[in-house]
């Protein structure tokens, strides 16, 4: 995987000490190719935003990073994805453990129909991360605190999570992902089902989480990408068109297509 030719890249994907890398990544849904030779580095402890019009493959790419595409029938993947330099599609890699290391937050808040406490405690429980009830309590509290939800729910930890508002549910999902201490958190349009106030809270939260985690976020909102991310990658028709520092992408895009998209001329 180290022997990937750099000439195939369409932009400047490499950074120093990347947390994750993708090299020459092709993905097919049965016969339809959804990703074409994507080369992208995810820098550590930064927020990387993936933008692009609908159907451009950014969510598909995101799901390649924690092998969620494995659960879909008829998906074939070529190329390499690495985490800390190790190929995650290697046969010796345990997918279950991999997904614990790379957490995910989905488009629609999807709390389990259990109590708030059980939602956050589920991950640590199944991975056997705790030895005692007190330890578990502590993890739950810290996770909720990190997700900025503790103040709102600390008096009703045992009430059903489905009773929370949409924004609270999404932050609960973030707390649930944080509870297994992942190294990377993938977010697939986490704010698309939220109102502006809840969105602002989640964005604030993403900014805080950056100091501890590597975050990759797919978003349809260019303002959001500009607000929360340090690096932005623009996808179009399954290809990575351009990647770079967020400021540079939004103020001085090199590619015509990037320029067209961010100025709202197509998409």
């Amino acid at each position: 995987m180290a022997a990937v030719s750099q000439s195939a890249m369409t932009a400047e994907p490499s950074v120093e000490n990347p947390k994750m890398t993708a090299r020459k990544l092709d993905l097919f849904y049965s016969d339809n190719q959804a990703l074409y030779e994507v080369n992208l580095d995810i820098p550590e402890q930064q927020v990387t935003a993936l933008i692009g019009p609908s159907g451009c493959g950014k969510s598909t790419f995101l799901r390649c990073l924690n092998r969620m595409n494995d659960t879909i029938d008829g998906v074939t993947i070529k190329g390499d994805v690495t985490l800390d330099g190790r190929d995650i599609y290697d046969k010796r890699i345990d997918v279950v453990q991999l997904r614990a290391r790379i957490g995910m937050v989905f488009q629609k808040p999807n709390p389990f129909p259990k109590s708030i406490y059980d939602n956050v405690a589920y991950g640590p429980r199944i991975h056997g991360l705790v030895n005692s009830r007190d330890e578990l309590d502590e993890i739950v509290m810290t996770s909720l605190e990190r997700a900025g939800l503790l103040k709102e729910v600390k008096d009703r930890l045992q009430s059903p999570a489905t009773g929370l508002s949409g924004g609270q549910q999404q932050r609960l999902c973030i707390a649930r992902a944080v509870a297994v201490s992942p190294e990377v958190i993938l977010m697939d349009e986490p704010c698309s089902a939220l109102d502006p106030i809840a969105t602002a809270k989640v964005e604030e939260l993403i900014d805080e989480l950056r100091s501890n985690y590597t975050i990759v976020i797919v978003t349809h909102s260019m303002q959001q990408a500009a607000r929360v991310s340090q690096r932005t990658a623009f996808f179009h028709l399954g290809k990575l068109v351009e990647v770079g520092e967020t400021d540079q992408i939004f103020t001085n895009p090199k590619d015509e297509r990037t320029k067209g998209y961010i100025t709202g001329r197509f998409g």
């Binding site: 957490g103 989905f106 059903p160 992902a177 001329r265």
Partner: protein, 449 residues
């Protein structure tokens, strides 16, 4: 910038088209009013069709309930005749041993016959006496024996005792035999009717609640026949059916929905499961006969064989219902669990199955209710036998409720008609109970997401 210019042109063209489309509509014109009227009429018509359909269904249900209820309710009561019985020590225990074995073997029938002769002393001819003995059921002697075994001090005394009457007498008392028709056209002759009238006049005929109907097994004598043997047989049969079809069905459904690759093989399996649900039940009976009885030599007429056969029949129902319930669990829950690093099995056992459980249980209970009412396959494996004893386990010969109904409906005695209806009432009560349980379980396990 040429991009931008062409975009502006497009927008201008679109505006022209939409302006042409916008003709003013006169919402008060007669044409529109007619249209509204027509729509209202169509809606009223549609509603009334639905109402008629529901009324027809209710009418059918009421007719069924009424006809069965009116025929069957009398089976819950039984005619008893009061007689003075002398517990003659010469008959019961001539050597005064006091040994229960001796007392148990005594001819209590003779005591009843003596009591009847004493009650009607002017009956002398042999055939008249035989008719006279028909007033009291042949089963009454067992009641007497039990009384004496319980309380041996009765020996030597004379007591007034209510004895269970014979079935023809019971029918006369319940009004099913019309004493005014020609003597040759009814089961009881004029003399018997006269004895009945005499007993009624003396206040020695009474209808009592018929507990025996709920506690005893089948019998050739309608007044002694009960539903309990068949109910216990049904219970063991359903137990075997449930123990087999529930785990197998749920596991099959989970595998097919969550783990099986979607290929030609699983498609064939799926089609065949659906076909299996449509196979006539008697075919399963033939299969059970061939495999369980002829090849495996399991005991004939046993609930275990019935249960195995019915399990085959119930499996497709449970698999189809479970698959539907599992499919209804939102994929976002699976993704959430997988995204947290839960293994596929953990995802299924922690999240999918608990959420699908109400649907699975409902399907299972509907399958069980179907099995409870099934007759045809059980006829093939010999559960149609006449069995008096109450089965003590799944290996004892037994019959089940619907087969008991079939057997009684086939019996010539008039008294079995009401028994048949009463047995149907019991079966329906069990079905209502099971459906109620299904509703309760669904409500209890239902969780919102």
């Amino acid at each position: 910038m040429t991009d931008m210019a062409s975009l502006m042109e497009d927008r201008a063209a679109a505006k022209v088209i939409s302006d042409n489309l916008r003709k003013p509509v006169d919402w008060d014109s007669p044409k529109i009013a007619r249209n509204i009227k027509k729509r209202y009429a169509a809606e009223r018509r549609f509603k009334s069709y639905g109402l008629v359909a529901i009324c027809l269904a209710l009418l059918a249900l009421c007719t069924l309930a009424l006809s069965i209820g009116s025929k069957g309710y009398s089976a819950f009561y039984q005619t008893y005749v009061q007689l003075e019985v002398t517990f003659d020590p010469a008959v019961i225990d001539p050597e005064r041993t006091g040994d229960p074995d001796v007392i148990g073997r005594a001819n209590f029938d003779a005591l009843i016959k003596q009591a009847l002769r004493d009650r009607f002393p002017d009956v002398t001819s042999r055939s008249d006496k035989r008719d006279l003995y028909g007033i009291v059921s042949g089963g009454a002697s067992y009641d007497l024996r039990e009384r004496v075994l319980e309380n041996p001090s009765l020996i030597g005394q004379t007591r007034t005792i209510w004895l269970i009457s014979g079935d023809d007498f019971d029918m006369l008392n319940k009004g099913y035999i019309d004493p005014t028709v020609d003597e040759g056209d009814r089961r009881l002759n004029d003399k018997e009717v006269a004895w009945y009238n005499e007993l009624v006049a003396a206040g020695a005929v009474e209808k009592q609640f018929h507990t025996r109907f709920f506690t005893s097994g089948d019998s050739r004598e309608p007044e002694l026949a009960g539903i309990w043997g068949a109910a216990v047989g049904s219970f063991y049969t359903l137990l075997v059916t449930l123990a087999l079809s529930f785990p197998i069905g749920v596991l099959a459904a989970v595998y097919l929905e969550e783990f099986a690759p979607k290929n030609r093989f699983t498609q064939i399996v799926e089609v065949n499961i659906n076909n299996l649900a449509a196979v006539p039940s008697i075919v399963f009976g033939l299969l059970g006969l061939e495999v369980y009885l002829n090849v495996m030599h399991l005991p004939r007429s046993a609930p275990v064989v019935g249960g195995l056969t019915l399990a085959l029949m119930t499996l497709p129902t449970i698999i189809i219902a479970s698959r539907a319930a599992i499919k209804a669990v939102p994929p976002s829950i699976r993704q959430a669990a997988l995204g947290l690093g839960a293994s596929p099995v953990q995802t299924v056992t922690h999240h999918v199955l608990p959420l699908a459980m109400p649907g699975i249980l409902t399907g299972t209970i509907i399958g069980m209710a179907q099995a409870l009412g099934e007759t045809a396959p059980l006829l093939m494996i010999g559960m149609v036998a006449f069995i008096v004893d109450i089965p003590g386990g799944a290996l004892d010969p037994a019959t089940v409720l619907p087969v008991q109904i079939y057997l009684w409906a086939d019996s010539p005695e008039r008294a079995f008609v009401e028994k048949t209806s009463a047995a149907i009432m019991v079966l329906l009560a069990f079905l209502v109970l099971m459906n109620g349980l299904a509703v309760y379980l669904r409500k209890k396990f239902e969780r919102k997401w």
